[in-house]
């Protein structure tokens, strides 16, 4: 196997950028939602829970198409964002990040939710008796104790985002240098007569990234347990 070509590097770097932005933007929403699902009872909670998990079970092409309808240049939200805020998603790398973020969201939220659920609520009560307002309790007790789970969710979400294909290609197509991620590059290469070697290299890159993410998620989960036991 020869070296990674500039075109392949472009796809790899774009994937990393798309997945990084998707993860960073999704994280605050993920934490808020994880907290809501772990700690609050409200009307429509099971519907919200189902909605969060929907991208996991829906055909990715459906998610991509729905994103196109909503966030496309003529979509309800997309039109508004483009006209008033100058944010355009369709056929841009930002759209790829949006698609990846949506697809990664269920995987990102889950470990966060589990780690918040595992926190002893009596510790939060203790913080309150010491004069901490609820938002201070969240930032000084809940979030620090949930941090390993938050990081694990970010790693898993990142791994999912970097491998996303169906929703991304449906929503923003497969434009080299703009929306062609590792996955869509591999897809193009295996349809090209001499693309096998290049596809093979990108496949290896994918496996390395995915394995790295899974191993670090596992490591964060172990840290979480140690942290909750006060060691």
């Amino acid at each position: 196997m020869s070296e990674i070509s500039p075109a392949e590097w472009t796809a790899i770097l774009l994937s990393l950028r798309v997945a990084t932005i998707a993860t960073l933007v999704a994280t605050p929403f993920g934490i808020a939602l994880a907290w809501l699902l772990a700690r609050r009872d409200f009307w429509g909670k099971s519907v919200l829970d189902a909605l969060v998990h929907l991208p996991l079970v829906l055909p990715p092409v459906v998610t991509g198409y729905l994103l196109l309808l909503t966030f496309g240049r003529r979509g309800l939200v997309g039109g508004f964002l483009a006209d008033y805020l100058g944010i355009v998603f369709s056929f841009r790398w930002t759209g790829a990040a949006l698609a990846c973020g949506v697809m990664a969201f269920p995987l990102l939220v889950r470990p966060m939710r589990l780690s918040i659920e595992a926190i002893d609520r009596r510790l939060e009560q203790a913080a309150e008796t010491l004069g901490a307002a609820p938002w201070k309790v969240f930032f000084t007790v809940t979030l620090p104790l949930a941090l390993p789970g938050v990081l694990a969710g970010m790693v898993l979400g990142f791994a999912k985002a970097i491998g996303e294909f169906g929703a991304t290609i449906t929503f923003v197509s497969n434009i080299p240098g703009e929306t062609q991620t590792i996955s869509s590059a591999i897809y193009s290469l295996i349809q090209t007569p001499d693309g096998d070697a290049a596809a093979g290299r990108l496949v290896i890159v994918s496996i390395v990234l995915a394995l790295g993410a899974l191993i670090s998620a596992e490591w964060f989960a172990r840290r979480a347990t140690a942290r909750l036991h006060g060691n």
């Binding site: 002893d120 009596r122 510790l123 009560q125 203790a126 913080a127 309150e128 008796t129 010491l130 004069g131 901490a132 307002a133 609820p134 201070k136 309790v137 000084t140 007790v141 620090p144 104790l145 942290r227 909750l228 036991h229 006060g230 060691n231």
Partner: protein, 220 residues
């Protein structure tokens, strides 16, 4: 100092308690299931009475008729739980400093020093709660509550999780605390001997009702 007149229904159990005290150390005595912890949780604001009033140091913190319920974090109370509840992600020094930081109080090194000496926890400051013994944990929890500068200290069976030897280790600290810390306290226990040493006034609770009220003599 403390005036309580509350009613609360918890499933099958109903709590109806009324007492007032100016004492330095109120002993709340009763068997397990008598409603002691529920009562203390109401004073702390962690539990909301169905009906009634609670007045701490002249401030009405609960008055169901007037719709008053001051949230726990604004009550300026200290609470020492049976299970210490130290923050596992913070070391002892950070645990001790937590209340002061949350209340935005200026550091008071003299007071800090005094409480650390009083409780003999100076050697533990760098340790994590997971590396402390049960008795050490309880002393740190006491210090943490005191350093938030509360106007009332609630202690819910602080020795309950400790064996006899450890209890004897902590008891002298509690007596010193009562005499030197200048914070009135409500001390919950089902152990009459403990209360005889500590309390200046007893509130006896039986199945959710106050059955006697008075000096430590009522324990006999």
């Amino acid at each position: 100092m403390l005036r309580v007149d509350v009613e609360k229904k918890l499933g099958e159990f109903s709590l109806q308690a009324s007492f007032a005290s100016e004492g330095r150390a109120i002993g709340l005595f009763g068997a397990s299931g008598a409603g002691k912890t529920s009562l203390v949780n109401m004073i702390a604001g962690l539990l909301r009475p169905d009906r009634g009033t609670i007045v701490i140091d002249g401030e009405t913190v609960d008055d169901t008729a007037a719709g008053i319920h001051v949230p726990t974090w604004r009550r300026r109370i200290g609470y020492v739980f049976q299970d210490a509840r130290l923050f596992p992600h913070l070391n002892v020094a950070q645990n001790l400093d937590y209340g002061r930081r949350m209340n935005g109080l200026a550091p008071d090194p003299a007071q800090h020093r005094r409480i650390i000496d009083l409780l003999d926890i100076g050697a533990l400051l760098d340790r994590r709660p997971g590396k402390l013994s049960g008795g050490e944990r309880q002393r740190v929890a006491l210090g943490r509550a005191l350093l938030s500068r509360p106007r009332l200290l609630l202690l819910d069976e602080p020795l309950g999780a400790l064996d006899e030897g450890r209890k004897l280790e902590i008891l002298p600290y509690l007596v010193r605390l009562r005499d030197e810390a200048n914070v009135p306290m409500v001390y919950v226990s089902h152990d009459a001997a403990e209360l005889r040493q500590l309390a200046t006034q007893i509130v006896m609770l039986k199945q959710g009702r106050v059955t006697s009220l008075g000096g430590v003599k009522v324990l006999a």
